[in-house]
């Protein structure tokens, strides 16, 4: 957390209402999001209890496991959930565009992709476990399950993994996204409570948000008091209707909160780089869809060494790009870098638009710009700079001191003798420059999986599904 966010939290606490820490929305919000609120049985790793889900806020689906310790009922529940989620996911695979690639065959990319929104990080973690516990199940032999169960398991695994990918919007958690855009007057720990965080953003804090009788937890864990006083007797009674209605009371409030969160986030204008990141999400989704249609085996229990290293490198690059893109998209995020001296903003006070460097054929246009700023500039001369106002341009810091910064534009000026209109900032224009740049970083050279060195366990065994996976015991 930066000092800027800390200050916003202090202000929120003082004023009794959350403060914005972003001026645009930094994630893609689907026109047709799927809200998914799973509940699990306390004390079990991945025993589903119920889920409320759907893409129509007026008509949520509620599926309940009326005897959570019964293996068959659990898989029947998973099949019910698959009956809603799979058609939703598959509805995005038909409309595609052809993407040309350099040095590779063109591929088909979905024009739009599914977006499954869960209440919190614990919801993502439970989705991952649900995926893990179902993707290896077999449709024949002992303990057969419906065909949709292992298929859903693979998709849930994919979505939960993608949620860990910086900047991805395929499976956002509501509390995370709200917390990225508003600073509440409570701690980060307390922000994990959806009702409490939404309270801060809309009407101000209230103790009701922490009262499980008024706002039940947003899952996947249920309130222990509810378990003891309502759910346990209901399960004891063996009345499916009673159990279903009991769980409905725990899910409906969160259902309303989820759509409220979506409305709040939808009201923010979308950041300029969001479409680019969503494009990557669409590409990734299409890749997964192809993978499944080609009959590839379910995701392995653990990544091999090379696959893990490659994944980590991809995530690091995505994180770096995400940080830079958010700063370029949003002056309030850029302000954090201005505070630490990695960026500065101010008014142009002087320009030399036709300044050149070199002689004869190597003569190049290098306009000079002098900016007056109140920001503390800690960048040394020679630093490469970029600017959100002219994203194609690159500049270099010449000198800085006494509130004045001189820079020269080094990239994106074209070949002409005079700059194109608008290419050089005018006197009086407000501009911002930063040393943050989203330069392409090559991927690290990693060996082929078959050439994994012995230090990393040697080549991984190829995954072959066997009966043991399918027969994995279930308590």
């Amino acid at each position: 957390m930066s000092l800027l966010t800390s200050l916003a939290r202090l202000r929120a606490l003082d004023e009794g209402i959350a403060q914005p820490i972003a001026t645009v929305r930094h994630f893609h919000l689907s026109q047709r999001p799927m809200v998914f609120i799973p509940l699990k049985l306390s004390g079990e790793a991945a025993a589903p209890l119920a889920a409320m889900l759907g893409s129509d806020r007026e008509r949520p689906h509620l599926f309940v496991v009326t005897q959570p310790r019964n293996r068959d009922l659990r898989f029947a529940w998973t099949a019910e959930v698959a009956g809603v989620l799979l058609p939703y996911i598959e509805s995005f695979t038909n409309d595609t565009e052809t993407v040309e690639r350099r040095n590779a065959d063109p591929y088909e990319r979905a024009l739009d992709a599914p977006q499954i929104i869960v209440p919190n990080q614990a919801g993502v973690a439970f989705t991952r476990l649900l995926g893990r516990s179902t993707r290896f199940r077999s449709t024949e032999g002992p303990y057969p399950v419906p065909e949709s169960v292992p298929l859903l398991g693979r998709w849930l695994t994919y979505f939960a993994e993608r949620a860990a990918y910086p900047g991805s919007s395929l499976m956002p958690a509501a509390t995370e996204e709200l917390g990225r855009h508003w600073a509440s007057g409570q701690s980060g720990l307390e922000d994990a409570n959806l009702a409490a965080l939404l309270g801060w953003i809309t009407t101000g804090p209230s103790d009701e948000a922490e009262d499980p009788l008024i706002w039940p937890p947003a899952g996947p864990a249920t309130d222990p008091g509810f378990d003891a006083e309502v759910l346990a007797p209901a399960i004891e009674s063996e009345s499916a209707e009673r159990i279903t209605e009991a769980l409905r009371t725990q899910l409906e409030p969160t259902w309303r909160l989820m759509w409220q969160a979506i409305d709040l986030l939808a009201a923010l204008p979308e950041g300029a780089s969001v479409a680019q990141r969503w494009e990557q999400d669409r590409g990734s989704f299409s890749g997964m869809a192809v993978h499944i249609s080609e009959g590839a085996p379910p995701q392995a229990r653990r990544d091999g060494a090379v696959a893990a290293a490659a994944k980590l490198a991809r995530m690091e690059r995505a994180q770096a790009a995400y940080d830079v893109q958010r700063a370029y998209d949003d002056p309030l995020v850029m302000a954090e870098y201005r505070l630490t001296g990695e960026a500065f903003a101010g008014e142009v006070v002087e320009t030399v638009p036709d300044n050149t460097e070199g002689e004869g054929r190597s003569r190049k246009l290098r306009p000079l710009v002098v900016i007056k700023t109140d920001d503390p500039v800690l960048l040394p001369p020679g630093t490469s700079l970029g600017t959100p106002q002219r994203r194609g341009q690159g500049a270099e810091l010449v000198e800085a001191g006494q509130g004045l910064v001189t820079l020269k534009i080094t990239k994106g000026m074209g070949r002409g003798k005079t700059p194109a209109p608008g290419a050089v900032p005018e006197i009086g224009e407000r501009v911002c420059y930063t040393s943050l740049t989203d330069d392409f970083q090559g991927s690290p050279a990693l060996p082929e999986a078959e050439a994994t060195p012995w230090t990393h366990g040697g080549p991984p065994q190829e995954y072959v599904p066997d009966d043991e996976d399918a027969q994995e015991e279930w308590s």
Binding site: L7, D14, S42
Partner: protein, 376 residues
């Protein structure tokens, strides 16, 4: 541990703090939690005096937000019963693999068979004999009862199982019902189990030392038994608890230095709940709250998952407008500016920085300028 010896005055003062409220016995979980917020004087005093913080919080109208689901309790008991069934047969199978216990020569002692009041003495005798004879046979002690001195009071502790193996080492066995899935478990659950097991390791080491044996015969590697994947089949893992042991020792030693804290307290201060015959507290709530407020708490949001008094202290921090409410990160970033009003005053420029606050004041003013510029 000589630092844990009784010190007359200080014990007397702690007893006065508690008044007629019966002493709350510490269990391993409570002792492990002592190390959670070492800077909190209020907690140190209440724990030292053995006050039931949960009862106090309830009486104050700020009941703790904890509770365990009956499903989780059932599941925990079921799993423990499964591991311990038939004389710990399942446990033995795992220990053989993990620690190399000899197959044939393993005996099983259920200490509970001797009756509750004798359990501690019986455990002592059994452990003494095992350590003295250094027999080759592996032995499992079920339901042992250990003790540990906490600020002058004896706490009795019940580890799940103590295993004694070939080569003369004792291992604490901790049975937990959270799952290990593909070799990975919830890190916070593992950390809590490790902290709890460290309490048992320390208690057993103290016992050996008292009996004149080498305390290091108790291994710092505890055996954590959890269900594997989604089934009930248990899997055992060794967990090194040296770090947790060090933290625990430091904290327990610190508790014996309560004298300094006690000296600063007014003589008439008491945390007594004044329970009636049925154990219901009768002390006026305002009076108790007032007594608590005369000791300094160090509230942090982490308290919400560790301390029964958390809601009371959070309410106090709110009334004081303390920046602690926002978490340690914010507090650290503010570098010694404790109150919200002070920090905002520095940011607005309506308050002049005190000595040493110039740097943070400059940063806050700058941050305020930037926020205004971007939001207008």
């Amino acid at each position: 541990m000589s630092g844990l010896k009784r010190e007359g005055d200080h014990v007397h003062r702690l007893e006065a703090l508690r008044g007629i409220t019966p002493q709350q016995p510490h269990d391993a979980r409570a002792i492990a939690a002592l190390a959670a917020n070492p800077g909190c004087t209020r907690r140190a005093l209440m724990d030292g005096a053995g006050i039931d913080k949960d009862a106090a919080a309830r009486h104050l109208g700020f009941p703790a937000p904890f509770g365990q689901s009956p499903f989780a309790i059932t599941r925990g008991n079921m799993f423990e019963a499964l591991v311990k069934a038939d004389g710990c047969a399942e446990l033995l199978r795992m220990l053989r693999e993990l620690l190399g216990l000899p197959v044939a020569e393993v005996s099983y002692h259920d200490v509970e068979n001797v009756g509750a009041h004798l359990r501690h003495a019986h455990t002592r005798a059994l452990i003494d004999r095992a350590a003295r004879e250094g027999q080759d046979a592996g032995t499992l002690y079920d339901h042992p009862l250990l003790s540990l001195d906490i600020a002058g009071h004896t706490a009795y502790l019940e580890p799940d199982v103590v295993a004694f193996q070939l080569g003369g080492r004792f291992h604490i066995v901790e049975i937990k019902s959270f799952a290990v899935i593909d070799g990975q478990a919830d890190p916070s659950a593992v950390a809590a189990a490790a902290r709890q097991a460290a309490v048992y390791v320390l208690a057993l080491r103290n016992l050996l030392e008292e009996l004149g044996h080498d305390p290091l015969k108790v291994s710092h590697d505890v055996v954590l038994v959890c269900p594997e994947n989604f089934a009930n089949r248990p899997v055992a893992t060794l967990v090194d608890v040296r770090k947790q042991l060090a933290v625990l020792r430091r904290q327990l030693t610190r508790m014996t230095t309560l004298d300094r804290l006690l000296e600063e307290l007014p003589d008439d201060l008491s945390f007594d709940l004044r329970p009636d015959e049925d154990g219901r507290p009768t002390r006026p709530v305002a009076e108790l709250a007032d007594a608590l407020r005369r000791t300094t708490a160090r509230y942090a949001p982490d308290c919400l998952s560790a301390c029964d008094l958390c809601f009371f202290c959070r309410d106090e921090a709110r009334q004081e407008g303390a920046s602690d409410l926002l978490g340690r990160q914010v507090r650290d970033e503010l570098g010694g500016v404790a109150s919200v009003a002070e920090a905002l005053g520095l940011a607005d420029g309506t308050r002049d920085p005190a000595e040493g606050q110039e740097e943070i004041a400059r940063l806050l003013r700058n941050a305020e300028r930037l926020r205004r510029e971007c939001l207008n």
